[in-house]
Amino acid sequence: MTKHTRHGMTAVDWLLCALLAAGAMTLTWYALRARGADAKTATVSYTVRIAGADATLFDASPTISPGDAIFSENGTLPLGTVTELHTRPHRRTVVRDGEIQLADVPQRIDIDVTVSATGSYTAGLGWRISEIRIAAGEMGSFHIGAYYATQAEIIGVTVREASGNAGK
C-alpha cells in the first residue's frame, strides 16, 4: 500500500526525484568538464619562427611591428599581440669543398616573432589561446601584422602569472 507524505507525494516519488536530480547534476558536471570549466588561465608568451622569408618584403615597410595582432590561419581567431621581433640571415646546409657546412641564403631571413596573450590550461590538452593549442614544435599558418606566414613553427612557450599550479 502506497503511503503518502505531505504535498501528496509518496516515498517512491521522492526517491525518483532524487535519482533524476542526481542524474541531471552528473550530466551538468560532465558537460562543464568537457567545456574546460576547470581550466586555469595565465599570460602565455610564445615565439613563432618564420624561416626563410623573402627579405625584400620587410625592407620597404614595417610588415610586422611590436603591437601588431596575430590571428589564426583563417584570420578569425585572435592569438595575441606581438611583443618582440628578431631577424637573422636564413641558413642552409650545403656541400662545400667536400664538406657539409652552413651557409647564409641571399635575400632570405628568419624572423622570430614573440607574442603574448591570455591562455587557458587544461590537463592533457595543454595551453590554448582561442581554442588553438600553443606548443613548441607545432607548425601552422598565421596572420601576423600585414604578413601571412605559412608553415611557421612555434619554437618556445613561456607561461607567466599562472593562477593555480598549472604554470611551471
Binding site: V12, V95, R133, A135, V157
Partner: protein, 159 residues
C-alpha cells in the same frame, strides 16, 4: 480518485525500476568493456621513440618525468630518459652523398617512454586499444611541446 493515485504510483514505480535497471546495465557494460580492452591485464613497457632534426630549443623543454599525452588529451606515458645528438644531415652533390652534422641548432632525439598496455604477440596495444607497431609515427604532447616521433622498438618492463 483513488484509482488515479494508484495509477500514478505504479507509473512512478515503473520509472524507478527502469532507472535502476539502466544503472545496473550501465555498470555491467562498463565492467565488460574494461575486461574486453584488457585494462585489468595491463602491463608496463618501455617504448623507444626517435625524432629527427628537432629544433634544439624545443628539445630543451623536455626532461625525464614529463607526462606525454595524445592529441585528444589521453594519457600516453611518462618520459623516463632521453638522448640527444647533433642532427645528422645527408646531402647529395654531383651524384655523391655527404653525411655530416653541420647544423648545431638541430638535434636527433631518442626518447624512452614508459607506457601501459597489452601485449598481443609482436604487437603492443596502448591501454589495450591503440596499436604501437614499429615505424608508426605518433603525435604526442607534453604541457609545452608537440612531438612527432617514430616508434623504434618496445621492451616489456614487467613479465
Amino acid at each position: 480518485m483513488r484509482g488515479n493515485e494508484g495509477r500514478r504510483g505504479s507509473v512512478a514505480d515503473l520509472l524507478l525500476v527502469l532507472l535502476l535497471l539502466a544503472v545496473v546495465a550501465g555498470a555491467a557494460l562498463r565492467l565488460i568493456d574494461r575486461n574486453a580492452d584488457g585494462e585489468s591485464r595491463n602491463e608496463e613497457a618501455e617504448l623507444v621513440l626517435s625524432i629527427e632534426s628537432l629544433s634544439a630549443p624545443i628539445a630543451d623543454y623536455l626532461t625525464a618525468g614529463d607526462v606525454l599525452y595524445t592529441t585528444d588529451g589521453t594519457l600516453f606515458g611518462e618520459l623516463i630518459a632521453m638522448e640527444s645528438t647533433p642532427a645528422r644531415v645527408v646531402l647529395e652533390q654531383n651524384g655523391a652523398f655527404f653525411v655530416g652534422t653541420a647544423d648545431d641548432e638541430r638535434v636527433d632525439l631518442r626518447l624512452s617512454v614508459r607506457v601501459q598496455g597489452v601485449r598481443n604477440g609482436n604487437l603492443f596495444l596502448l591501454n589495450g586499444r591503440i596499436s604501437l607497431p614499429i615505424g608508426k609515427v605518433l603525435t604526442l604532447y607534453t604541457d609545452r611541446v608537440a612531438l612527432h616521433a617514430t616508434i623504434v622498438r618496445w621492451n616489456a618492463l614487467t613479465v
